[in-house]
């Protein structure tokens, strides 16, 4: 069981260290509560107090990762496996229930779902967004044209955001986020929105960014994309880390798993999962503040 108390000593400075992160949500459930205490109350009383039945969702079980410079990490798994939760935690958008993420610089998440300021026009949003990322006004002016060009909005850039279609808004959002050259880049798969023309342009910019970035995290349902771009793949299922391996190995296991599931062979699928888990070597982060290993 024990992989030996032999510590592996990692030279140099890693980009991202995820240290025993765990995420738990408390959310309201619309399902009727099954506790007796609640049903004892008359229905109208329960409605009046309007306290929904709360359930705890384990979005991510304890997980540790060390990602070094030059690695591109693909994250795969079924819906609800905790991929996006992990991305949000690494980018700092959500705070883990326990544990912490350490990074060598601020990670930048390229997603398209965040809306900007609805009442302002597109160009005002570009300036505001860039300033919010810490650029100076001169830098914004320098990059303004390339951002507008990447967004492909042309004249519509002067209209208020609230008149934009969701596709237009997400293109603008992407163009703004892609205007910095981050050291740590997180990409959520939702980028596949937008028309073909924008798709090509954004892919080009993404490739550029990925080449410049120190390390990349990529969530995608397209296994081909992951295979082509990543040097390491993490498979999550229901909040558990299942595999952390070379892309070919992890993707093959995941494909076997989903093939069995789609045929209805739940038992053999579960066996693949269990096998993978049994072979997993979990990481334990031991921070050091000196160059030498402690023992």
């Amino acid at each position: 069981m024990d992989a030996g108390e032999r510590e592996i000593f990692i030279e140099g400075h890693p980009c991202v260290v995820v240290d025993s992160v765990r995420m738990r949500y408390r959310v309201a459930s619309s399902a009727a509560s099954d506790t007796d205490a609640d049903t004892a109350k008359p229905r109208f009383l329960r409605r009046a107090v309007n306290k929904p039945h709360m359930v705890t969702v384990q979005a991510l079980n304890e997980l540790s990762l060390v990602v070094e410079r030059g690695e591109s990490v693909g994250i795969i798994g079924r819906n609800g496996s905790g991929k996006s939760t992990l991305m949000k935690i690494i980018s700092g958008q959500s705070k883990p229930t326990s544990g912490a993420v350490y990074a060598s610089s601020t990670p930048i998440m390229l997603g398209v779902n965040a809306a900007l300021v609805q009442d302002l026009s597109g160009d005002q949003n570009v300036i505001l967004g860039c300033l919010a990322m810490g650029m100076s006004r001169a830098e914004v002016d320098e990059k303004f044209n390339s951002i507008v060009e990447l967004s492909g909005l042309e004249k519509s850039i002067h209209l208020p955001m609230k008149s934009y279609s969701s596709g237009m808004a997400s293109r603008l959002r992407f163009a703004i986020a892609a205007s910095v050259d981050p050291e740590i880049l997180l990409v959520d798969e939702a980028l596949n929105t937008g028309d073909a023309q924008f798709g090509d342009r954004s892919k080009l910019r993404m490739d550029e960014l990925r080449e410049q970035a120190g390390c990349v995290f990529l969530v995608s349902h397209s296994l081909d994309t992951i295979k082509a771009m990543c040097t390491r793949v993490i498979w999550l299922d229901k909040g558990d880390l299942i595999m952390d391996d070379e892309p070919e190995i992890a993707i093959k296991a995941y494909q076997d798993f989903t093939r069995h599931l789609s045929k209805g062979n739940n038992i053999s699928a579960a066996k693949i999962l269990d096998d993978a888990k049994a072979n997993l070597v979990a990481t334990e982060v031991r921070g050091r503040s000196s160059r030498r290993s402690r023992g």
């Binding site: 690494i90 700092g92 705070k95 993420v101 060598s104 505001l128 300033l131 739940n266 503040s289």
Partner: protein, 295 residues
């Protein structure tokens, strides 16, 4: 669904990794207070751009546009004049009652508007907060700068009304003192807004209470009556007169209506409130820095 596999958080093998943590910082961590202030200064362009862009867009939906910035307090003043001046006759013993009322309402409205938008700035900008990493206090500060900018035409209109409506007042050098009074008031608004912004980001219900609290405050600030008429107990009167907003209004009335040099006590009380609220607000807001926009 793989029902059987879910039961096994079995102790899998663990590999300790020794990681050099010296160059890493925790994602989303809060800087120390002085660094925080420096960061805010670095984001000054963001703050001013945010304020300026939104002053223009704030009333774009209305047909009369920015005129509502003026019409609003004028209608307010008219209402109070009808009810308190003509109907309830609280005007007795007040020299230039119309001017007295107008100064009270315009000045109070500046505070109530600024406190409300400062308090809501984090909640209403949740998408920006989640999308970008910047010191969050930039939003309440931006909201207050915006209110200060839109207070300029408001104050000019107030002075115009005082000059035009009978009994017309003469313009004196004392009018210049309106500027420092409004600036101190603005610092006070910012301090209160910062405190409320953190409270509201935690407990959203407070937004519903805010209008009531502000209305109670307004009725307590001697806007359409004088304290002397209703409060006879001298200690009680002194305590009521510590109200910071009453002091701003009193200072401006002295300068604009009665051509009196405001008492130094009023300035002292106002300055103490302004600087005190700002200091408490900044520290309190900074302590919650990691919690904004999450969950």
């Amino acid at each position: 669904m793989s029902a059987d596999s879910a039961i096994d958080p079995e102790p899998v093998a663990v590999q300790p990794l020794s990681v050099d943590m010296r160059r890493l910082t925790r994602v989303g961590s809060r800087p120390n207070f002085l660094d925080y202030l420096v960061q805010l200064w670095d984001f000054r362009q963001f703050i001013f751009y945010d304020a300026r862009a939104r002053v223009q867009s704030g009333t774009r939906r209305d047909r009369l546009g920015s005129a509502w910035l003026l019409l609003n307090p004028i209608f307010n003043g008219l209402t109070y004049f009808l009810i308190f001046g003509l109907l309830l006759k609280t005007s007795r013993g007040v020299e230039n009652y119309v001017g007295y009322l107008v100064v009270g309402i315009f000045v109070f409205q500046f505070s109530s508007g600024a406190i409300t938008s400062g308090a809501r700035s984090i909640r209403s900008n949740k998408s920006i907060v989640q999308a970008f990493n910047f010191p969050r206090a930039a939003l309440p500060i931006g909201a207050n700068v915006r209110e200060l900018l839109s207070a300029v035409p408001l104050m000019l209109a107030m002075l115009l009304i005082v000059v035009v409506l009978p009994p017309a007042e003469n313009i004196t050098w004392l009018w210049v003192l309106v500027v420092p009074a409004i600036l101190l008031q603005s610092l006070f608004n910012l301090g209160v807004g910062l405190i409320l912004a953190r409270v509201i980001s935690r407990v959203h219900d407070v937004t519903h209470l805010l209008p009531f609290a502000l209305r109670a405050w307004m009725y307590g600030s001697a806007i359409f009556y004088t304290y002397e008429r209703f409060v006879t107990h001298p200690q009680m009167l002194a305590a009521i007169k510590l109200n910071p907003l009453f002091n701003v209004i009193d200072i401006i009335r002295d300068c604009v209506l009665y051509a009196r040099v405001p008492q130094w006590q009023s300035w002292a009380i106002l300055a103490a409130w302004a600087l005190g609220a700002l200091a408490v607000g900044l520290v309190y807001f900074w302590k919650g820095e990691e919690s904004y926009g999450r969950g």
